[in-house]
Symmetry: none
Subunit: 192 residues, 4 copies
DNA sequence: TATGAATGAGTCTTCATTCAT
DNA sequence: CATGAATGAAGACTCATTCAT
C-alpha cells in the first residue's frame, strides 16, 4: 500500500531516471511505468500527459534544488564556506540531473508559455538568492566594492557548470572526487 | 543553377534555422525543405537521414566557430583584446545558434557514439586552443603564476555563456548591445 | 438504505441521462456512476458490462413506452382521441429520450444479434399494437375500406417522429407547446 | 495514376462503406484505408482527422442527395410523378446510406457546433425545396387549400423513412422491389 | 536530378474492467 | 456490499523515408 503522494513521488523519480537517460522524446511512457513498477495507465491517474509529467518533474527538482541551496546558505555565514557548499551541491545536482539541469539552464521547445514563465521566475528566484548573498558579503567587506555583483553571480553559476560538467562527463569523475578549490580560487582571485 | 556544394550549404543553413527554432524532434524534414526552397526528397540526395543532416549541421557550425575564434586570436596578441574578441564572438554565436551551442556544450540523446566521440574531440580541440592561449599568457606574465589554467578556461567559457544567455534571453538584448566589460572584470580580477 | 431493485433503477436512470447526453461511446462508466451517486465498481454489481447496462436501459424504456401506450389506448376508444394521445406521448418520449428513441427506431452497431432480435420483436410488437388498433377502427368504419393499414401505421409513426423532431430540435419548442392537430389533419385527410 | 480529386472521392467512398457497416466509433482508419486500397497515412494527406473525414463524407452525400432530388423535380412537373420520384430515390438513398441518412435525420454526439450548424442549414434547405414544391402544387390546385404544408412535407419525409426502413431492414427487400404506391395513397388520401 | 504522394512503424492516450481493501 | 486505484488493450495520428515519375 502506498499513499497517493508517495506514488506521485515514485512516478516522478522514475521519470527523472528515464527522461535523464533517454531525453524527453525518446522516453516512452511505458518505460517510465516499468521503471516505477506500475502499469502505463496508472501514470495518467496522477499526471494529465507526458508533458505535464515532465513539467511536474522539473518543478519537483527545482524546488528540491532551491530547498537544498537555502539549507546550505543558512548553515554557513562565511562567504567561502557558502561558495564551497554551493559548488559541491550544484556539482552533485548536475551529476544526478544533467538533463534537469539543462532544462533549468537552457530553453526548451517542449515548454509552453506558462511553464516558460514559471521557469523564468524560478531562475530569477535562484539568481536573486545568490545575488542577495553577494550583496551581503559586499557590505561585510568580503567582496571588493567595485565588483559587478550580477556578473559575479553569473560567473559563479557558469564556472561551476563548466567545471563540474567537464570533470564528470569528459573525465568520468564522480562529484565527490572533484576538488572545488580551483573553482573557488579562480572565482575569488580572478586570472590576472 | 547551383552547384552540389552550394545546395548542401543551402540545406544546412535551412536546417540551422529550423532546428534552432523547433528543436530536433519537432523539426520536420518538410519544414527544412520548405525553408531551403526545395522538395522534401531532395534533402535525401545530399544527406542520408535527418540525423545525418543534424550531424553535418553541427560539424559545419563547430568548424565555423573554430575558424572564427582562430581569426580573432590571430588578429590580437594582447590577452585582454583576445578575451574581448572571444566574448563578443561567443556571445554572437550563442544568440544566433542557441540550440547549436547547447548541442556543442551539452550532451544529447540524439547523438550516437561516433558523433559523441567527434564532438568530444572538437570540444577538447576548442578547449585546447583556449588553454594554449592562457599558457602563453601565463608565460608572458599576463596571468598569475599560481593560476589553475584549466579552471580559468572553464570559467571563461561558463561565465560568457551565463552572462550572454541572461542578457539575451532574460533581458532581451541583442548581442551588440551587451557590454563585455563586467565579464572581463570578474574574470580578470575575481570577486574578492 | 435502498433495495437492490431501487439501486438498479437508480443506475438505469443515470445511464439514460448520460447516454442521452453523450451517446454510447462518449459516455464513461465513471460519469454514470457519478450521476447515480455511487462508485464505479458498484455498477458492475448490478450489470455485467457497459453494453449490458445499455441493453437493460433500452429494455426498461421500451417497456415503459409500451406500458404507457397501452394505458393511453385503453383510456380512449375513439380513434382520433387515441391518435391524439399517441402523438402527445410519442412526442414527449422523443423529447426526453431522443437517443433512446433513435435506438428503438434505428439500427445500431452496438447491438449484438440477440439484442437485435429482441429489439426487432419489440418494434414488431409495438407495430402490431398500432396495427390492431387500426384494424379495429377499419372494421368500425372509422377508416376507409381500401386503406393499406401497414402503410398507415408507418405513416403515423414516421410523421409524428418528423413533426415533433422538427418542432423540438429545430424550433426549440417543448413538447407541451406543440400543437398535434396539423399532424392528425394530414394523417386523417391526406394532402390532396 | 489518380488525380488528387479522384483519390479524395475514392477515400470518401471507402469511408461510406466502412462507416455504414461499422458506425463511426467501430470503424478504424486502417479499415477505411484497406477498403480504399491505400495506406493508413495516405488518408491524412487528404483529411485532417477521422472526424473531418466523417464530416466531408456527410457533406459529399448530402450534396449528392440534393443534386439528385433537384434533377428528379426538374424532370417531372406533375405532383404525383414528383412524389413517386422522391419516394424511389429517397428509398434508394436510405438503403445505400442508412447511417448517412441517420446522420442527416438525427442528432449526433460526434458533430461539433460548426458541423451541426451546416447540417441544420442543409436540412432546412432540403425541407425548403420540398416546401416550395408543395406550395406550387397548392397554387395549382393539386393540394387542398386548407392543408398545412409544413406538416405535409414532414409527413412525406417521415412516412417514406418508416416505410422504406421497414421494407428494407425488417423484411429484407431491396429498394427496387418496394412498391411506392401504398405510401403515396396514404399521403394523398389520408387514412379516413 | 528533383519531386512529393504514399507509406507504416511507433507512441500517447483513453477507459472498460478487475480486485484488494 | 461498495469502492476506486490499477491495469492494458486498442486505436488515432505523426512524420522520416521511399520511389515512381
Amino acid at each position: 500500500m502506498v499513499s497517493k503522494e508517495e506514488r506521485r513521488i515514485n512516478i516522478i523519480e522514475a521519470a527523472v531516471k528515464v527522461f535523464s537517460k533517454k531525453g524527453f522524446h525518446k522516453a516512452r511512457m511505458e518505460d517510465i511505468a516499468k521503471e516505477a513498477g506500475i502499469g502505463k495507465g496508472t501514470i495518467y491517474e496522477y499526471f494529465d500527459s507526458k508533458k505535464h509529467l515532465f513539467y511536474e518533474m522539473i518543478k519537483h527538482n527545482v524546488n528540491l534544488y532551491k530547498d537544498n541551496i537555502k539549507v546550505i546558505l543558512e548553515k554557513e555565514s562565511n562567504l567561502e564556506e557558502r561558495l564551497l557548499g554551493i559548488c559541491r551541491y550544484h556539482g552533485r545536482f548536475i551529476s544526478e540531473h544533467i538533463d534537469m539541469a539543462q532544462s533549468i539552464i537552457s530553453q526548451s521547445h517542449l515548454i509552453d508559455d506558462e511553464m516558460k514563465c514559471w521557469l523564468f521566475n524560478e531562475r530569477m528566484n535562484i539568481f536573486t538568492i545568490f545575488l542577495d548573498i553577494f550583496k551581503d558579503s559586499q557590505k561585510k567587506g568580503e567582496l571588493r566594492k567595485d565588483l559587478n555583483i550580477e556578473a559575479a553571480v553569473l560567473s559563479l553559476i557558469g564556472t561551476i557548470n563548466q567545471y563540474y560538467s567537464k570533470k564528470i562527463f569528459a573525465e568520468g569523475l564522480s562529484y565527490e572526487e572533484i576538488d572545488p578549490i580551483p573553482v573557488l580560487d579562480v572565482l575569488l582571485k580572478g586570472i590576472e
